[in-house]
């Protein structure tokens, strides 16, 4: 029997009504840059490896880490994790403990003996890297990956540069560092220790490019009147002595004064404690808030009983008497001035940690290579010195001096060298818009506190084991907001009043512009800001 005309209608005939014609603005899936990735000096895709970690794919997560940084276990210890500072979750219920996840997965890689993927790239060209610090090793790692023959010369007995000579063992156990360096070595980088480059010109003949990753390993000189019975030394000398002659640890006495406000000062002070000092004071000229040292480092030092004397400079050292000038600091204008008042403290040792300089005398007279007034090697945007084919990076050039930055320089240098050797211009990857907190809809994130683990251990040189269990890695990684990138929460698909989002079998999503009316609910309800409304 026939159905009534018009009043009875077959199902789903409205599919003929393409309501997409109503649209004045259109949603688009976008990739925005998560703040963690943007800020990472090493350029890690943190969000991506957190996502893999969420799924328990730890090997894949590690592989993702080493795409940009060959030192996950090391970074998981010494990186000052600016990523966590900018992590959007910090504005919600505490940033994701990225650093500890990186460390935990980095350690897992060492324990399981994971190695780098073999590169199939091949080139006959040769590159020399001078210095085995984080920058040099990273450059070597990438250049090898790009297929070049890489020689790396290190003037010291041991590899690692500042990772070894600038970071105490209790923060970075040497077996961890050694394992990560060995992995680079195993990838085919030809490393020669105890080899100092005296004459760069001679070496240039043998190489198509050179990367100067010589670091800043010389203590900056100070102009202080010293007439001392106390031990006076630089932090860098202290660390180097402890590394190269670990069986004969120096005795700094009971009371130690460290001069400086950076991370090295903190490391020196904490090392002093571990060497048996009972009274360790850090003298710093500005206020505690102005200390360049990382906040957690300062906290750790204070927790261990180290006293920080702010607004003071050392004016002279006489016997065991250290005379301090009290300072006035105009916070607003950043003007520091002597107050005219003095103070005397007693010290068995005084350690200077007021900065390090680049030893670049061997570059003198080489045409094209210039050194700035501050003693830093001049480079262009592509990290090349004035001499074609000679590149420089890490602490030796103007820029931030952290291990993580050094790794970033190493990676960039490798890319620049690669471009140079291919006869191309180095073009940095274009950057997407940043997914800041305002672009998120945090309603969909359940409050879930960051799993904090104190890294503070005993006052010895053993590292405290704080790594997450596999389950803890997953739980903490799950806290990632996935800022700016779809994490398949299906909100858009579920909320679209017009069914104008297609969810494919594999979970991928597509906007069906035939029906999308452009209401924008998908963009509003996207937790992570991965949908943009455009005109």
């Amino acid at each position: 029997m026939s159905k009534p005309f018009a009043t009875v209608v077959e199902p789903k005939t409205s599919l003929n009504n393409k309501t997409g014609s109503w649209r004045t603005v259109r949603p688009e899936y976008v990739h925005r840059l998560p703040p963690c990735n943007v800020t990472c000096p090493a350029g890690e895709n943190i969000q991506q490896w957190l996502s893999l970690a969420q799924e328990g794919k730890f090997f894949e997560a590690w592989q993702e880490m080493v795409k940009n940084n060959p030192f996950p276990a090391t970074m998981g210890r010494v990186c000052y994790h600016t990523c966590e500072k900018v992590c959007n979750r910090g504005q919600y219920d505490g940033s994701v403990n990225i650093n500890l996840i990186e460390r935990s997965i980095g350690d897992m890689a060492i324990a399981k003996g994971w190695s780098f993927e073999k590169s199939n790239a091949h080139s006959d060209k040769k590159v020399l890297i001078v210095g085995s610090g984080p920058s040099g090793l990273t450059a070597a790692y990438f250049l090898k990956k790009f297929g070049y023959n890489v020689d790396l010369f290190e003037s010291h007995k041991y590899l690692g540069g500042m990772m070894r000579y600038g970071v105490p063992k209790y923060r970075l156990p040497r077996h961890v560092l050694d394992a990560e360096i060995k992995r680079i070595q195993d990838s085919g980088v030809n490393i020669i220790c105890n080899k100092k480059v005296e004459n760069l010109k001679d070496e240039l003949v043998n190489y198509d490019a050179v990367y100067l990753a010589i670091g800043a390993s010389v203590a900056s000189s100070v102009n202080i009147d010293v007439e001392s019975k106390a031990i006076v030394m630089s932090a860098i000398d202290l660390f180097q002595k402890m590394e190269d002659d670990s069986n004969d640890l120096p005795n700094l006495g009971k009371s130690v004064v460290v001069y400086g406000g950076g991370n090295t000062a903190i490391d020196a002070a904490r090392t002093a404690l571990r060497l048996g000092a009972e009274d360790v004071k850090i003298v710093y000229r500005r206020t505690i808030n102005n200390m360049p040292a990382h906040e957690t480092e300062i906290q750790d030092a204070l927790s261990e009983g180290i006293e920080i004397l702010c607004l003071r400079t050392i004016s002279s050292i006489n016997g065991k008497k250290v005379i301090l000038d009290k300072m006035d600091y105009d916070e607003e204008n950043g003007i520091l001035s002597r107050s005219g008042k003095n103070e005397m403290i007693v010290a068995d040792s005084v350690i200077f940690a007021i900065g390090q300089a680049v030893e670049c005398s061997f570059l003198q007279g080489i045409e094209g290579i210039s050194v700035s007034e501050k003693g830093l090697i001049d480079v262009d945007n592509c990290m090349m010195t004035g001499l074609k084919g000679v590149f420089a990076g890490g602490d030796a050039i103007l820029g931030k001096r952290t291990v993580t930055h050094a790794i970033g320089y190493g990676k960039k240098a490798a890319k620049c060298i690669d471009a140079f050797l291919q006869g191309r211009d180095y073009v940095p990857n274009s950057k997407n818009e940043v997914a800041n907190f305002k672009k998120l809809n945090t309603e969909y994130y359940k409050k879930d506190e960051r799993k904090e683990v104190s890294r503070l251990g005993n006052l010895d040189f053993e590292e405290k084991d704080v790594s997450y269990s596999n389950n803890e890695i997953i739980q903490e990684a799950m806290r990632c907001f996935s800022c700016g990138n779809c994490f398949h929460c299906d909100n858009c698909y579920s909320y679209c009043p017009d069914n104008a989002i297609i969810k494919h079998e594999d979970g991928t999503l597509e906007i069906n512009y035939d029906y999308c009316k452009g209401c924008g609910i998908c963009a509003s309800e996207c937790p992570c800001g991965a949908i943009k409304m455009t005109v």
């Binding site: 409205s14 003929n16 799924e55 035939d514």
Partner: protein, 318 residues
Amino acid sequence: MSSLTMGNRFGQNTSVQSSSNRPNTLTSGHRACQGCGEGLAARCAIDAAFTAAKGKIAVVNATGCLEVVSCSFPDNSWNVPWIHSLFGNTAAVASGVAAAFKNKGQTDVRVIAQGGDGGTTDIGMGCLSGMFDRNDDVLYICYDNQAYMNTGVQRSSATPALARTATTMPNSQYNGSDPETGKNVPDIAMAHGIPYVAVASVGNIHDLERKVAKAINIRGAKYIQIHCPCPLGWGFPTAETIRIARLALKSGMYPLFEAENGVLVGSTPIEDQIPVEEYLRVQKRFAHLFGKNAMPEDIGILQKIANRNIEKYRLGGM
């Protein structure tokens, strides 16, 4: 990755809506306005019912926005057996449908009646009450957008206190809908002692789906009222529908609860209560409460309503 999203790639606590196999009982091409809360709520509710009843449902629809946007010759958006009769008789038509299926021995076919707040709380109240009275095996779903939207935003008995509608325009003498008017239909439904009454919201789809699925498997009369923000009628940008619904929940202006046999058995607690002002300020229908001539006690009236809801429905926890 968080259980509060509609779905997730780990498959935990996912909604019917997030499934790539969801039935899409209300499919594309319907003529609801951009950002329509009611259209979304209807698909969510009927999809949940369809899933819970393994596809065996029949739907009776009152006249109103939902009806005109979803089934206007030649375009029918429904993918389920569906009938529209009139504005005020929906519950009774559904009673008839249920009686027919019962007589055919097909009690596995679950019958749903649905309509807007006008068709439910006003003109459909008699038939609704009769359906409750007879305890007919029907789930009645009221999509509450708090006014007669289809006819151009006139006041209904579900219009909240002080809200502006086309028939409660604020001026120097009047201040939106009279706060001493209005009708609480979930309470009225509970007073009938029917097996199940629930209040849901598009601001909480997981809860909405759970309530519909629960109701669909209960024999007898059921009533679910769903808060559906209306961008056009309430005056807010089309992208904000869900957010507005959420603000209503967080402020206590729309309490989510469920009752069995007339007794409150559960409510969705408010974790961080927000002042009603946050909910009101973003809607033009309350703009006069913030304008030049606003009386400071007006917001207080609505805050009192929210507070009373929180106390009455134990939104601070059962």
